[in-house]
Symmetry: C2
Subunit: 305 residues, 2 copies
Amino acid sequence: MFESLPDRVSVYEVSPRDGLQNETAIVPTTKKKRLLDALAASGLARIEMTSFVSPRWVPQLADADDLCALVDQRDPSVVYSALCPNEKGLERAIAGGIREIGMFVSASETHNKKNVNKTIDETLAVFEPVCVGARAAGIAVRGYVSCLWGCPYEGAIDPRRGLAVAHRLVELGCYQVSLGDTIGVGTPKQTRDIVKLFLAEFRPEQVALHLHDTRGTALANVIVGLDCGVRDFDASVGGLGGCPYAPGAAGNLATEDLVFTLHGMGVRTGVDLERLWEAGKVAESIVGRPLPSKVHQAGVRSLRS
Amino acid sequence: MFESLPDRVSVYEVSPRDGLQNETAIVPTTKKKRLLDALAASGLARIEMTSFVSPRWVPQLADADDLCALVDQRDPSVVYSALCPNEKGLERAIAGGIREIGMFVSASETHNKKNVNKTIDETLAVFEPVCVGARAAGIAVRGYVSCLWGCPYEGAIDPRRGLAVAHRLVELGCYQVSLGDTIGVGTPKQTRDIVKLFLAEFRPEQVALHLHDTRGTALANVIVGLDCGVRDFDASVGGLGGCPYAPGAAGNLATEDLVFTLHGMGVRTGVDLERLWEAGKVAESIVGRPLPSKVHQAGVRSLRS
């Protein structure tokens, strides 16, 4: 175990989108900008900042266009991405200067249908012209396969269904596919099996893990993924977030806990943990409730003693 | 990874002692009995129920003698143990019908001194007649080495110091030594190194892990320990507990999260997760505050869907 740890991994920060989308409060755009600035100041180089969905579905992210205008997207040190479910979304992404978009498909037919009212095939058909248009505009595309560890409606999911979806996303032009344990039911042996299945067919840089901590297993699953060769991990500062269409899906893996653990293993992330902790305090102040990250709660100063 | 997982591991429940000792509220003895009954009903076979320390130091456990009288210690399905720091404690343990005692030493000289106002050597000298007396009375003895992953006063600890302490405890007659990350600073690679060091000199059944979740790493460390050959894990229902003499040491590994994860990996524990979840609700009700276990918060019914 840990015989070939990498020097460095990439952390993909999702709190401004996956986190804030699940808050009942609508956070003002200027406060979102404060969070983005704090995250960028910590050294995070990839930040998913919003989603170009209909404001009717996700009112929390209705200010996506305004937020794009506030952020300096030409800053070479950070890529700010946005979810983009359709061609209308792509128009907004292009207008907003977005350099990377993300698109979600579920490994579960039922979850996909409940989420976007389309089958998996119909969803992928909608994505095709979006990917063509994004490529033409020089925009990178990242895919997500959700509910790969389990579905709130169907229960267990055959990971080969998710593998087939991932292949379709890569064929459409996704440079990377992030594998989602959307409802946080995954356990480490299952994670090993899923990661091995995907790394047998994809290069390591094509695979990321997007794990929710609903049952406390996210970090254990990350460590297993890391040992099996994954080098990209999604996380959310403070542990902000969940999934509004998956009952019981509360809490992303906390970025602070991930970064603390990786650094403790000698794996660099490019992130300054003290500044990240401060970004967590910003996140906490703008949502107005205590956040679940353990490192957030314990503090980072004590680590020096 | 996970090439030789065991069929079964043993969970050592510490909430009635390590958990309740860290609550500000003094829980009435009858409520403690309710918690013990709920824990035993879940199938937990080893429960650390109290400590024979001076009520001046730990008023939360001042009712140790009364609690012993309430519990049926002849029940062959559960061993109820108690911490026992000295000969006076052993007298109380014998009078109370206790079948197993535990004794703590720190791997950190400074932490040990702050904890019991004795050096490590002085502490072990006090334990010697206790162990002799326990053996004569047919009482099993379990040792703990705390602060092995790090000390709140000294910082990094050379694990070979803990190894030397563990050897002394085994020489005194401890059938098992539980290795403590008392302040929850451990990361997985460090855990691998510590576990390999100990399993090179002890048999697997002589080694347990006692991990705190202060920085969210406890379960990841358990999984690493499991993969390296550990078969005994301490945990506390709901995540109750900490260490009153180690600043920042909040929260044991939650038993529910541990059991959920092990079962998900096909490793049996003998524990019924639904009943364990109910025991967590009892723990929550008697301490009167929300408990941090994620499985506790998420519930277990949803897992059937």
